[in-house]
């Protein structure tokens, strides 16, 4: 599963940090999402998924969801 964080959409609500602080943090400058670990342990898949679902502004998109043998989380700063 590949999770993409579209940082330009981010409203700095911090819900991803509450759901999974091993993978997500908020930038000091403006609180927007920063990925701490682009290849987190598979054990974190459920928590990463929760972070995606809890995001109030749907900042994340998921690709290749059926493949649960790999977990990649990346940032993308393009406008959406």
């Amino acid at each position: 599963m590949r999770v993409i964080a579209y940082t330009q959409k981010c409203i700095a609500s911090g819900n991803c940090v509450l759901a999974c602080s091993d993978v997500f943090e908020q930038r000091d400058s403006d609180g927007t999402v920063h990925i701490l670990n682009e290849r987190p342990a598979l054990a974190l898949l459920k928590k990463v998924r929760q972070a995606v679902d809890l995001c109030p502004n749907q900042v994340f998109t998921i690709e290749d969801e059926a493949n649960q043998s790999e977990l990649v989380v990346v940032e993308n700063d393009q406008a959406v």
Partner: protein, 417 residues
């Protein structure tokens, strides 16, 4: 079979003979979500309702529809001055040009990010020890004054008020004034003239504070706004700066104090839940999970949040055309069984718990991490210090707020311990 040329208004009418009147009344001294919401959620998720000052709107009660609408600022925007006299919950429209609610989504994000560093999870946690100390001092004072105490006046309002004053860099001594602003901001009966008069008074009040920040910039949120304002209209106009700063004052204390007071009114009548909460006071994560559930079930207002359809949108399979006013019920969404199994069961370990209490989309609550932290500390300190705290009067005797306010619940909360 195609329908391109045909009648495209596919909005179902409510099952009732005539549209229901909105907002639905609550029972006396009750903070239960009126049953109309869950009935409509099951049978008529896009329901036509009659608005109190004329016209009709469509009430959304399902989690999926509320979320979809709040997340689609392009198709479903906030109501603007140029929309004219649209159906609403208040006597007079409270649209103000240059507010964070009326600028374009792009502009909104740009302005919001000027201050978001002050509202992160990390910053809320840095403020936590100060809030723990403050709530303990407030309990000391309640103990000194003796029983009964007013948990709203002596505890629930003082905590968020002190936090927002510190954060914004405004003097706590003027808290009575900020309360007036909060009351006016939430009034459903204020006329356009009354709103304008209040606005001018607020601007008069805050102007010298802004001058002080200009001369001697601080790290407060007001300081951040003033510093950015100096860089010109591209960053922040004068009107945007004033609107944002003044909005934060009222939003900063009213919601948190009401959430705490209303949750206390409910939990004091549920000894079992109160015991469960007491068992969590030494476990921050368990307390955080419980507070999330408390926020899910605690009603703050009887109405909804308005949006206007700009481009056709499909909700629960129903096509809604441009021009319709939508009322989003976040509290009904919090009770949607599609998302929250057994929605009426209070489960402090509910996971996941995608509550709508802080809204969704670009306008989702800016202060939500502060509010969570404050709720956690308010409940933890109270139950640690006064484990036998309870209502001093029968629930039906608790003084209630007047119903011209958008928020509902006790005006005072007399307790003994």
């Amino acid at each position: 079979m195609s329908n391109e040329q045909g009648v495209n208004i596919q909005v179902q009418d409510v099952q009732q003979e005539a549209p229901l009147h909105f907002p639905f009344p609550l029972a006396d001294h009750s903070l239960e979500l009126p049953k109309e919401y869950t009935e409509l959620q099951a049978k008529c998720p896009v329901a036509r309702v009659k608005m109190p000052y004329g016209g009709e709107a469509l009430l959304l009660t399902r989690h999926a529809d509320v979320t979809k609408t709040a997340n689609d600022a392009r198709r479903c925007g906030n109501i603007l001055g140029s929309d004219g006299d649209v159906p609403r919950q208040e006597v007079a429209s409270r649209t103000r040009e240059g507010s964070l609610f009326t600028v374009t989504p792009e502009r909104h994000n740009q302005i919001r990010r000027l201050v978001t560093q002050a509202f992160t999870v990390k910053h809320a946690n840095e403020m936590r020890p100060g809030v723990v100390a403050l709530t303990n001092r407030l309990i000391d004072e309640m103990e000194l004054k003796g029983q009964p105490a007013d948990l709203y006046e002596d505890y629930a309002i003082k905590t968020p008020m002190a936090v927002i004053c510190e954060l914004l860099g405004i003097p706590y001594e003027d808290e009575q004034l900020f309360r007036e602003w909060g009351r006016d901001l939430l009034s459903r009966t204020a006329t356009r003239e009354e709103q304008q008069e209040r606005w001018e008074k607020m601007v008069q009040y805050i102007t010298p504070l802004i001058e002080k920040e200009r001369a001697n910039p601080s790290n407060s949120v007001l300081g951040m706004l003033v510093k950015n304002r100096e860089q010109g209209d591209d960053v922040l106009t004068e009107q945007e700066m004033l609107s944002f700063a003044l909005g934060l004052v009222a939003a900063g204390f009213e919601t948190t104090s009401t959430s705490f007071t209303n949750s206390a009114f409910v939990l004091f009548q549920s000894p079992d839940l109160l015991e469960q909460l007491k068992a969590r006071v030494d476990d921050e994560d368990a307390m955080a999970s419980a507070i999330e559930e408390i926020l899910r079930i605690t009603l703050l207002g009887a109405g909804g949040r308005p949006r206007i359809v700009r481009e056709e949108v499909e909700l629960s399979g129903i096509r809604v055309p441009p021009g319709e006013v939508l009322m989003l019920s976040f509290f009904a969404g919090n009770k949607d069984p599609e998302v929250f199994p057994d929605p009426n069961v209070v489960n402090f370990d509910r996971t996941p718990n995608p509550i709508l209490s802080f809204g969704r989309g670009i306008h989702a609550c800016l202060g939500q991490q502060l509010a969570r932290m404050e709720m956690q500390v308010l409940w933890t300190t109270l139950l640690k210090r006064l484990p036998n705290v309870r209502l001093a009067v029968a629930p039906s005797e608790v003084p209630w707020r007047s119903n011209d306010s958008a928020t509902i619940g006790p005006a005072h909360l007399p307790v003994v311990w």
